[in-house]
């Protein structure tokens, strides 16, 4: 198996926040903590408004893991970045290091205003017995060990947000892009940095209209 990944198809995301709601409900995430959120750019600009669902991207070379002073992070065989809340000291370094704003710090917890870090687990729980109450209380549901994929992706009404084996979801996304290009429509890969990676410049009007 390749690595587990998320990908959000910006041509399909309708900013319904169903993924956010599914995540909060599935893991009983406390008030004030959002493991996932929907970000919209070019708000109100006709044809240029795009939304993207963001959470921990379970980076291959995760900066949060690199900066953690107590080494509370670990990576599963499937590339899911998880952490041990019994080791976390709530220092917040991971929050500064993460480019996606994934680490969250619940207030009113062990360290008052800055509790132990909480983030998306790719619905893979944490270092407790799979499916146990202790795991649920600390990290939420472990859907992977139930044979399921993350709730946010499985609940996405337009299937904009996809989760699973990186090769599998990349194939699905590629087929969508191919169909769109065949039909002369925007492929929808630009916002993911595809252009940055392959040298294609972003659409000329996207920067101008934003200002």
């Amino acid at each position: 198996m390749a690595q587990m990944k998320f990908i959000c198809d910006t041509e399909r995301c309708i900013e319904c926040n169903g993924c956010v709601t599914a995540c909060k409900a599935e893991h009983d995430v406390p008030w004030g903590v959002n493991r996932r959120r929907v970000v919209t750019i070019n708000d109100g600009v006709a044809g240029a408004e795009k939304s993207i669902s963001v959470a921990c991207m379970h980076c291959s070379d995760a900066p949060c893991m690199a900066v953690c002073p107590v080494q509370c992070f670990y990576k599963t065989d499937e590339g899911v970045v998880l952490h041990d809340k019994d080791v976390c000291i709530g220092c917040g370094y991971c929050s500064y290091a993460c480019p996606f704003g994934a680490p969250q710090f619940p207030s009113g917890a062990a360290f008052s205003m800055r509790g132990k870090m909480d983030k998306c687990t790719f619905c893979a729980g944490g270092p407790e017995q799979n499916g146990s109450k202790a795991e649920y209380d600390k990290y939420g549901r472990n859907r992977l060990s139930e044979g399921k994929l993350p709730a946010c992706a499985e609940m996405c009404s337009t299937k904009a947000l996809m989760a699973g084996d990186g090769d599998t979801i990349a194939d699905i996304f590629r087929s969508r892009v191919t169909v769109r290009q065949t039909n002369g429509k925007a492929a929808g890969a630009e916002l993911f940095g595809w252009g940055t990676a392959y040298g294609k410049k972003p659409p000329a009007n996207s920067q101008e209209k934003r200002g």
Binding site: D84, I89, P127, S145, E146, E154, K159
Partner: protein
């Protein structure tokens, strides 16, 4: 003189004992994360999808790959 040295040593030992008592017991900081079970080990709850054999990574991977195709509209819907 010997009494004086002994008193100093005793004081040092007592102070060391006090300081040790002030430390946080059972501290896990710096020990790294606990060992975690593999994701292919079936969850011990009533929500299990019985599409794989617990502990068998091959069957678990296949179950998740099959499930991931539920996100593929081009597979779910038949062409017109």
């Amino acid at each position: 003189m010997a009494i004086f040295v002994r008193a100093k040593l005793t004081t040092a030992l007592v102070l060391t004992g006090f300081l040790a008592g002030c430390g946080q017991g059972g501290d896990q900081v710096g020990s790294g994360p606990k060992a975690d079970q593999k994701s292919s080990v079936a969850a011990d709850n009533g929500y299990l999808e019985k599409t794989f054999k617990s502990g068998d990574k091959e069957s678990w991977s296949k179950a998740l790959k099959d499930r991931a195709q539920g996100q593929n509209d081009y597979v779910r819907s038949k062409p017109l």
